[in-house]
Symmetry: C2
Subunit: 327 residues, 2 copies
């Protein structure tokens, strides 16, 4: 099986590629070729498999057709401009997140018009497709009222994925990822950054800023769980989905206070003392509009699994990023 990963240079993309190489197969079929692409040149991991890395902007006309020409059997579409940037740069967000996605889907359809071609496409959507009003636990049938351009673009991607799948142009499945924590790497300016920062920095002996109240509740899964979602989606029998092709992934609904309690259990008071409370009304207001929890019955029934405690999410970070022990 030939696997194409769009967005292979991103945090989840890199972990996905490592997992593909470690597993060597998807749903019992051997992976025998990999193509990795991103806007920046993705790293080529060490492997005996034929592997191609491509730096390309799939939102430029013709680029998606070039990527699809080799007829990959499985396509992971993780490429996106993130929420903050899509809000700051309206044109860029629509170009990458909407046009790029549509070019990809259309390239697959056009390839199939030449001779039969029916790949699986795994599309990463986001809980940003939901906006107000939001209950504490959002059902699978909740309506989509995105309050960002990014959420709008992801909701449109879900609609296109469903229609192209219904028309028989490819076998699509969308997964709405929770907020990924603990994100490895340096602090960034994303409004959601603190959810990872208040764990990651103290574990590394550094100070972290908490800009919201401890009562704030949000929805989480680890990077390791995100990769497992993608692999599960790639292997799933999609006849179980009907035409509702996108699933809200499972996750953990907890408060910031509960995150901190988990940090204390795992790393002690000295870690917790590195969290500095510095209320920021702007961030608090943004975060107040975000989902607090879900009841993702469909995904759970289909075998998708996430962590059930934040202690476990912290332990995943220690195992995968810190070599299995605290510094």
């Amino acid at each position: 099986m030939h696997v194409l990963v769009l967005g292979a240079a991103g945090m989840v993309g890199r972990k996905l590629v490592a997992a593909l190489l470690a597993n060597g197969e998807i749903g019992g079929t051997r992976i025998d070729r990999l193509t990795l692409t991103d806007i920046v040149m993705p790293d080529a991991p060490a492997t005996a498999l034929p592997i191609e890395t491509i730096a390309a902007d799939f939102s430029q006309p013709g680029v998606a057709a070039t990527l699809i020409k080799s007829r990959p059997d499985l396509i992971f579409h993780l490429a996106a401009i993130v929420s903050g940037e899509a809000e700051a740069d309206f044109d860029k967000g629509y170009r990458i997140n909407l046009d790029g996605t549509r070019f990809l889907f259309e390239a697959v359809r056009q390839e199939g018009l030449k001779s039969p071609y029916f790949p699986r496409i795994v599309f990463t959507s986001s809980i940003a497709v939901f906006g107000e009003p939001l209950p504490d636990r959002i059902e699978d049938t909740h309506f989509l009222t995105p309050l960002t351009s990014y959420g709008t673009q992801k909701a449109i991607g879900e609609l296109l994925l469903a229609d192209y799948s219904r028309r028989g142009f490819f076998d699509g499945i969308g997964i709405r990822l929770p907020t990924i924590a603990v994100r490895p790497g340096k602090p960034n300016k994303a409004a959601s950054g603190f959810f990872s920062g208040i764990i990651r920095e103290p574990l590394a002996g550094m100070e972290a800023v908490l800009p919201v109240a401890e009562s704030v509740r949000h929805w989480f899964a680890s990077p390791r769980a995100a990769v497992k979602f993608l692999l599960r989606a790639a292997a799933l029998d999609t006849t179980q989905l009907g035409w509702r092709r996108t699933l809200t992934m499972p996750g953990l609904s907890i408060t910031v206070g509960e995150q901190i309690a988990a940090l204390r259990r795992v790393a002690g008071d000295k870690a917790v003392k590195l969290i500095r409370h510095e209320p920021d009304a702007t961030i608090a207001k943004i975060v107040a509009g975000w989902p607090r929890g879900f009841d993702p019955k469909r995904a759970i029934a289909l075998g998708f699994e996430a962590e059930t405690s934040f202690d476990d999410i912290i332990k995943v970070h220690i195992e995968d990023e810190l070599g299995g022990k605290l510094p």
Copy 2:
């Protein structure tokens, strides 16, 4: 106020233009200029107002910008490829219903980037944005699961309308029209055609075919009600909408049997006898996937009104199409 109508040559478009000229104003502001456009040249109605008619395909790059250059204050966007054609011709449906809509919205945004410009856009959506599973009465918060390319394109239009409005590029409002009955004119091949045909043809002394069971339930409003929805949407204080910019319009949920009973009350047994029952499994299957009724609380609270009996819907047809009396 300068009013632009896209889709002005269609059945609803023509009735809307007649109503605009009859009323002379929208929400207390005088209409002083009209631009009518469609893929075929719209009729220019008799009026003393400056009026321009344009045959143009707004799905071609650059055309929307030309239409917007004169900065209309109010834009009715009724232009669309209908459901059956969008399903039969995938490219054409996406080109007109998605690209065309996006070109229009983007042309307004680009005009506003030159100097402040903030028109009202009234976008006609459809109950085709809903698909399975469907309760008997669909709430305003029901999720969108279109099962046609047309419904997908309309749902995407709703998302774009909301995002462009939220970003302040224009003041958008979407209205989801019920199935319009009684449609004037000749029978057509649309799967929904019989809903009008079983009334229109017998009233004209002609035979009509009923391809489904009398127990089939559906959601209706008259062409006159559709025009009133558009005028109400054009004048509405949109701050009442929040960011949920599209409303399901009110309508009447009745069965085909109840339609026929109304026909009997209005036009007698001799009209009803002209309905020939000729079951068609294909049409029955299509119609089984359609909405049966709604609970459009938001639109009703905002003053939108439809007929409350099918007798009234038939009477509207007799008044507006048959000169007020049965032949």
